[in-house]
Symmetry: C2
Subunit: 652 residues, 2 copies
């Protein structure tokens, strides 16, 4: 029973002052001036995080018997070179050579162009906020653009800019450089000209061991650890497919200039699933369970036309019409939507946005982001990517270790294929030190290439150019022929569907979605966490510091603890009303008041945070009600045995 007003204005300063005042979080190394992009979680947010992670484990790992792994963050460079991260895991940055300041190119373009559009609206008299307010707001939000000027743009420029903003995630360094040039985007503080965008790798580098010979990085995702253990995981699953591995752990990204509070951080908790699936069969046996889940979708073709118009569509329909590529991808998108609902995310502020072509990570063949709406705009909180066979293939090729599934075929198949048969006895003496190279040349050929090589061979010899040198291979050295073979085993590299959660971002969105102000008293803030997720379930409040209440308070908290209900006591001298107000800011859903009547008849008052309604009953009955509500029952369902109780909340 929530009394959250639907259209209340969200004021980030007030929100932030509750979160920091109650030590949900704080900038790390605060007394040293802090480091941007690093934050510490205090007790309440630790507990919220533990409950959300616990819900995640139940919803995903336990529900589907996923195999959990816990791999190291320290990763040797070679692994991340193979996975493509050393070369491609980077953002574009622009340096101001005058001041030495460094900007993330896409964010700067976005911010400057958005500011110009706002200035244009103001000039046309259709701005929402007054410029003064807006400029004030910019300063508080630590935006680079500190002032918006009311300058009217030409109509076609407005259209161009709107298109650029819709496609901003689709641009590489070259395009960003062109936009910066064309729209004369400069350092907003000094108007200084910027250097063209250059790539900055987002991984933290370090040295492993004392010799300085082993370069390493902190992992930017947990995924690689799963992939490298694929054979062991498959073995754990008795070689059965499909199956999934899961991991919850910290990852690290050296963001260029993080300025969005808890949303853009350099060290963060990820919860990642790698679901391994037969590339020829991406059906999912539990797809039915999510087919009717309706999501808000923003597919790529809409964005590529420069629009952000969403549509409501069921998972079943989206897969049917090909908007979502396959059942397994659809299944996980549906499961993500259900999870978000389970932890208390406002569904109206959730959408699934498909990546555009250029935007996709280097390993992905399709990707949908679960975006949650916050005061910073729409934020990617979960990525759901089809990584195809990319990772398993590249690691296998690099190490020579097969990362494949072998399936017994019920009916053996006859396969016809071109095969190379090298006469090794002659090959060595003929090519000497290059024998290996020439062998590799022949063995790495595709079927089509082998077919044409067989023709060259029939016509006399193959002339191979390898590393600039020429080699002559005739049919005394090698045979290339089409061979028929009966195969009893099918061997394939699985595809990987990856739902990847940024836990901290989900938590932040949850905090914003849960925050409101009591309309009757704007000084009173509330965080309406669901009872299943709330950091603490119950606040125990003895009416006064009277010593008669001490044993009652102890006995009550002991009973709550043994029922598994986490409780805190506030026996400070503040009024009941003030203690409850403090408690509302912590998001504790229930309050229990011990008063003089409790001493005589063992009854207590139960208070609901959102409605401030109160009911009274015997302690065991109240504990039963609490148990039901912390397991998901509503106030109405759980409190039928309790009597209504009227009392005014005294504020001071």
């Amino acid at each position: 029973m929530s009394t959250r007003p639907t259209e209340q204005e969200f004021i980030r300063d007030e929100f932030d002052s509750v979160l920091r005042g109650r030590f949900f979080y704080a900038p790390s190394f605060d007394i040293y001036g802090g480091v941007s992009g690093l934050y510490d979680y205090g007790p309440a947010l630790c507990s919220l995080q533990a409950n959300v992670v616990d819900a995640w484990k139940k919803h995903f790992i336990l529900e589907e018997d996923m195999l959990e792994v816990d791999c190291t963050a320290l990763t040797p460079a070679e692994v991340l070179k193979t996975s493509g991260h050393v070369d491609k895991f980077s953002d574009w940055m622009c340096k101001d050579p005058q001041t030495g300041e460094i900007f993330r190119a896409d964010h700067l373009v976005e911010e400057v162009l958005e500011a110009r559009l706002k200035g244009d609206k103001e000039a046309r008299g259709i701005a929402h906020l007054s410029l003064e307010e807006e400029n004030e707001d910019k300063k508080k939000r630590k935006k680079k653009v500190k002032e918006i000027k009311a300058i009217k743009l030409e109509d076609h420029v407005v259209t161009e800019i709107e298109e650029i903003l819709a496609k901003i995630d689709n641009y590489g360094g070259k395009e960003l450089g062109e936009i910066i040039e064309k729209y004369q985007i400069t350092n907003p503080a000094t108007n200084g000209k910027l250097e063209p965008p250059c790539e900055f790798n987002l991984m933290f580098e370090t040295q492993i061991g004392p010799s300085g010979n082993l370069k390493g990085y902190l992992r930017p995702e947990t995924a690689q650890g799963h992939f490298l253990n694929f054979n062991k995981l498959l073995d754990c699953n008795n070689s059965r497919m499909p199956f999934a591995s899961a991991s919850i752990g910290k990852s690290f990204r050296n963001e260029i200039s993080p300025r969005a509070g808890l949303l853009r951080v350099r060290e963060f908790l990820m919860a990642e699933i790698e679901h391994y699936v037969d590339p020829d069969n991406k059906k999912h046996h539990r797809f039915d369970e999510v087919a009717d889940v309706v999501i808000t979708a923003l597919p790529k073709n809409v964005q590529e036309q420069g629009s952000t118009q969403t549509q409501q569509i069921s998972i079943g329909e989206a897969v049917k019409i090909g908007m979502i590529e396959n059942e397994t991808l659809g299944y996980f998108i549906g499961r993500i939507a259900l999870f978000m609902k389970r932890i208390g995310i406002n569904e109206k502020r959730m959408r699934f946005r498909q990546h555009m072509g250029n935007e996709m990570a280097h390993y992905a063949s399709d990707c949908w982001d679960c975006e949650l709406h916050t005061s910073y705009g729409w934020i990617e909180c979960v990525g759901c990517a089809d990584r195809s066979a990319y990772d398993l293939s590249v690691h296998s090729a690099r190490t020579g270790e097969k990362l494949v599934v072998r399936e017994n075929l019920e009916t053996p198949v006859t396969v016809e294929a071109w095969e190379v048969d090298i006469d090794k006895k002659k090959f060595g003496p003929k090519f000497r030190k290059d024998a290996g190279k020439v062998t590799k040349f022949l063995e790495s050929k595709t079927q089509c290439e082998l077919e044409s090589l067989s023709k060259e061979l029939a016509n006399g010899e193959i002339v191979a150019t390898i590393d600039g040198a020429e080699f002559h291979i005739d049919n005394s050295l090698v045979k290339i022929a089409k061979v028929k073979r009966t195969e009893h085993i099918r061997e394939y590299t699985p595809n990987v569907i990856e739902p990847s959660f940024g836990v901290g971002r989900c938590l932040y969105a949850l905090l914003e979605h849960s925050f409101w102000t009591r309309p009757e008293d704007t000084g009173r803030k509330v965080l309406s966490f669901l009872p299943t997720i709330a950091p603490t379930k119950v606040l125990v409040v003895p009416l006064s510091s009277n010593s008669q209440f001490v044993p009652l308070t102890k006995s009550l908290t002991r009973q709550l603890r043994s029922a598994g209900i986490s409780a805190k006591v506030d026996d400070s001298s503040a009024t009941i009303g003030r203690r409850y107000a403090r408690n509302d800011e912590m998001g504790t859903p229930f309050g229990l008041t011990i008063d003089f009547q409790t001493i005589s008849d063992n009854t207590i008052t139960l208070r609901d945070r959102d409605s401030t309604l109160q009911k009274r009953g015997a302690i065991p009955d109240v504990i039963q009600s609490l148990l039901a509500m912390t397991n998901g029952a509503t106030w109405e369902e759980a409190t039928t045995k309790l009597a209504n109780f009227e009392s005014q909340e005294i504020e001071q």
Copy 2:
């Protein structure tokens, strides 16, 4: 009911082959050849870890309302410079200039001297193992010393070496260098002479942000994050003392040459508590609860005499006689002992060893290690240190931020103290740019120093030498006088008692302590985890792949899940006996067999892993028994309602 034979020989190869075969763990980046000191946890160890961490949270955080924090691993250099880690957190290493090999000096000395003692025993005819076996063993354990030679040593040399080994943790680089010189310790593989020991800092270094201006380290402990948030934590606790913060997270140490498997790793999970206490009152209000806990203690004076003789002593007695310095330190040592028992550590293989003077970390004033015995010897698994006011003081001094407790005094006290009164109006013009320096010089003086300065001033002037320059200060510029003042508030820097758990080491010891071989069949290995801690509680085994069992299996696992009992199904075609044998290696305490009788009367067989006893009953009764046992009840207590069941376990 365990049938673990008490004196069974532990064979590490067999143990390791079960752990790796069942993917409890694997070397990280295995298919790339691995990186020493980095390991991944597979599903079973992840689950064991989660259960142990959960037990830890209940035993410490929940039980005592500790305040949890989650701080970043990335730490700017300045913080760790202040804490002393940049200068002092290092080990001594020796390089072989010929081969480039690097050895950890203390470990090398220990290993070489231990090998010489063994060789001496063999020469005297009192060796336990034959040298061949021992040498074989060294190779397997990846020891640096590959061969032990039967060479008799002089009696006084044996005594000297025994003393050195007892005090090995007490030596610095200079002493290690002298020992290496005196006993001619060389590279065991090549006999090459080593360079003298030099210090190697154990922290991983990196750069934060794109500019390269902010050097950072990965934290070597979680503690600093707690300390920097002290004021916020105190505020969360309504300014009440004493209280504790707690944190569970990864820390990183760049070990020189880790060779002890899961025991010496470069990235590891820590669970740390920082308990803040009044330095004038280190009593603990729950000390009574642990006073009777008996521990095996090895105090520092015994070790300093070159002995490792332990004694059994109660916590109460140890504090009373001053062996343990104060109640709070004693309380936590007792709580640690109780926790170890709770998770299934063999108490006979647990001791508390006090650090010797030189061995202590730079921040500690007293420290006791909880050591667990493993096949690698006695291993430090938990440190319990009194960090005094060290950390809070140094961070406060560096940042100018007070990290103190302020207490209202019930009766105000009169304090008499020397005070400096600087005439700032004159000070500036007189000393100009050095005014700040001179002010700091005066304000940083102790009471004694102020007293003597006051005399100098009375005699004419103070002549201060600061940074090589001389400054003359007379009594027109400054007054120094003894002042009486009434104080209503007491301000103090708390002391910190820190129990710090290496979770991975506790897990490894638990694995070794739980491992045994069925005496009747040496091929059958068992991991006897307590039901409360075991990764999976129940294995469900349908008798055969008969399709009649499928719905029963599904319904049973659903019932188990809704009762909160984690279960796995093994419906492979192996015999029941073989499936149970597999299961014993996973440490699953209970098995449920579904057979044809189940179809007709809804009864199932319940099997106990350790005793292989079986009982039979109706499904709801069996689930009740399981619930009781996973909450701590014994087999005898929990299965009274079930009937005995005789069946031979068929092995093949």
